[in-house]
């Protein structure tokens, strides 16, 4: 009789899953890219003087944070083609990855706008004033003094948000995207739904390794960029 738990399934499924890591990473990468850009814009709206812009940016953040990822995914997946259809545009043949990237970009932007805003506000305004007093322009003061420090403050939260996004990204299989999660589902279906545990374990291991790699990368980045933050102890 067949074993209920068979390690060989783990070993065999890993090489089958790995090629689809590309899709997972691409979707996450693009979402981070677009989400960060939009996050910057939202943060600027929150920090700026316009009351309306502030309201919009905070409203956006609240709504997005209150929407479960999977609900947002379905809303974009079904909603955007429906709206486009109203305007006579047919989006039915568009790659599913596009909807996933849109979903997670929108969500990541909400998170990043808060990460960027809080790290910006954590840098004492006095340094900006000192900078313009010694003759820097406002722009130079931001780029040379404020933003490099805000960046260091933002790094750990940015890293955490990125890990969060990657894990949430696994939901993309629900609309049929074949990333590693989608591929795992296919392998399980191919096994007539047996040995699912082994496949999920293989998947978990891949996610663990990926997460550790990202975590380590961010620890390294923090070290590199935190000039003037570490106290160098001398004996």
């Amino acid at each position: 009789m067949e074993k209920y738990f068979d390690v060989s399934y783990i070993v065999e499924s890993v090489p089958m899953l790995i090629p689809f890591l590309k899709v997972t990473l691409m979707v996450a990468g693009l979402s981070v890219l677009f989400g960060t850009i939009l996050g910057f814009i939202l943060a600027a709206m929150k920090i700026g003087n316009s009351k309306i812009a502030k309201k919009i940016a905070y409203g956006y953040t609240t709504i997005l944070r209150c929407t479960p990822s999977i609900v947002l995914l379905f809303l974009t997946y079904y909603g955007i083609p429906a709206i486009a259809d109203n305007f006579g545009v047919n989006l039915n043949d568009i790659d599913k990855a596009v909807f996933v990237v849109i979903t997670f970009s929108l969500q990541f932007a909400a998170v990043m706008s808060e990460v960027i805003r809080t790290s910006y506000e954590s840098i004492d305004r006095g340094q900006f004033e000192a900078a313009v007093c010694v003759g820097l322009s406002n722009t130079q003061a931001y780029w040379r003094i404020i933003l490099p420090q805000a960046f260091v403050v933002a790094l750990p939260n940015f890293g955490n948000s990125l890990l969060e996004l990657m894990k949430e990204g696994a939901l993309a299989y629900t609309i049929g995207l074949i990333d590693i999660m989608g591929k795992a589902e296919l392998i399980i279906a191919g096994n007539y739904n047996t040995h699912a545990l082994e496949i999920y374990l293989a998947l978990a291991v891949i996610y663990w390794i990926l997460s550790i790699a990202i975590e380590q990368l961010f620890l390294k980045l923090e070290k590199v960029f935190s000039k003037g933050k570490q106290v160098i102890t001398t004996t």
């Binding site: 006095g126 000192a130 003759g135 820097l136 003037g228």
Partner: protein, 252 residues
């Protein structure tokens, strides 16, 4: 006259903080502003170099003649080139070393070549006794050392005047002395200084003019002797009585 300011008014919301302050400073002057907390001393300094925009007022600064409320970006930049500012809480650039703190304004603000800026910066740090700390980041320095970097940053710009806003108020008492020593030294070299401070010894020994401010106006001004020994105004007397040690007056 090097700097002449007339009739500065500034309100925050309903509160009128400066109610028509005049100020004249000659080259080489060391002017100390005294006054109770909240009397508008910081606001006055901040209006002079446009960290706050005055509601009304006029400034003549060398060849620049501006309305403080409507000054153009160019005029503001021009005036800031002539003024250096030393902050109460230092405001050093935390992502830069002591030397970089000093050279930042030279290289970026004044377009001086990096090598030359480094020379100037090192000299300024030597002057404030920080020859050993060129490459230290602010976080590695004591408060007194940080403020001395702040002073070096101001001195290196070779400004026409340096404004000091309570430069020793944030320091532990035992660190006040080292900062005052540096300030006395640059005063002796002929630097024009406008200093808000509660250090009466500095006012007495170094200033050639003392201004007493209260509630947004200049109540009285004169030589240290005028102010400390025979103040004319009741408000000045009351303030001095509060801040000076009992027997201090007799030692002036």
């Amino acid at each position: 006259m090097m700097l002449e300011i007339t009739n500065i008014h500034k309100s925050f919301g309903e509160n009128e903080i400066l109610k028509g302050v005049d100020l004249k400073i000659e080259k080489g002057d060391v002017v100390v502003i005294l006054g109770p907390s909240g009397s508008g001393k910081t606001t006055l300094l901040r209006c002079i170099n446009f960290l706050e925009k005055a509601d009304q007022g006029h400034a003549i600064f060398g060849d620049i003649d501006v309305n403080l409320k409507t000054a153009s970006k160019k005029a503001i930049h021009g005036i800031r080139q002539k003024i250096a500012f030393v902050f109460q809480n230092y405001n050093l650039f935390n992502n830069k070393t002591a030397l970089e703190n000093v050279t930042e304004g030279l290289v970026i603000g004044r377009k001086i070549a990096k090598a030359e800026a480094n020379e100037i910066g090192k000299k300024a740090l030597d002057k404030v006794g920080l020859s050993e700390k060129y490459n230290a980041y602010p976080i590695e320095l004591s408060g007194g050392q940080q403020q001395r970097v702040g002073i070096a940053r101001a001195v290196a710009l070779n400004p026409d005047i340096i404004l000091f806003d309570e430069p020793t108020s944030a320091l532990d008492p035992e660190l006040v002395g080292e900062v005052l020593t540096v300030m006395k030294q640059i005063a002796k070299e002929g630097t024009t200084m406008l200093v808000v401070t509660h250090e009466m010894s500095f006012a007495k020994d170094v200033a050639n003019r003392v201004i007493f401010m209260d509630a947004g106006v200049v109540v009285e001004e004169g030589s240290p002797k005028d102010i400390f020994v025979k103040p004319k105004e009741e408000r000045t007397r009351k303030f001095l009585k509060r801040v000076l040690p009992e027997d201090y007056i007799f030692y002036i």
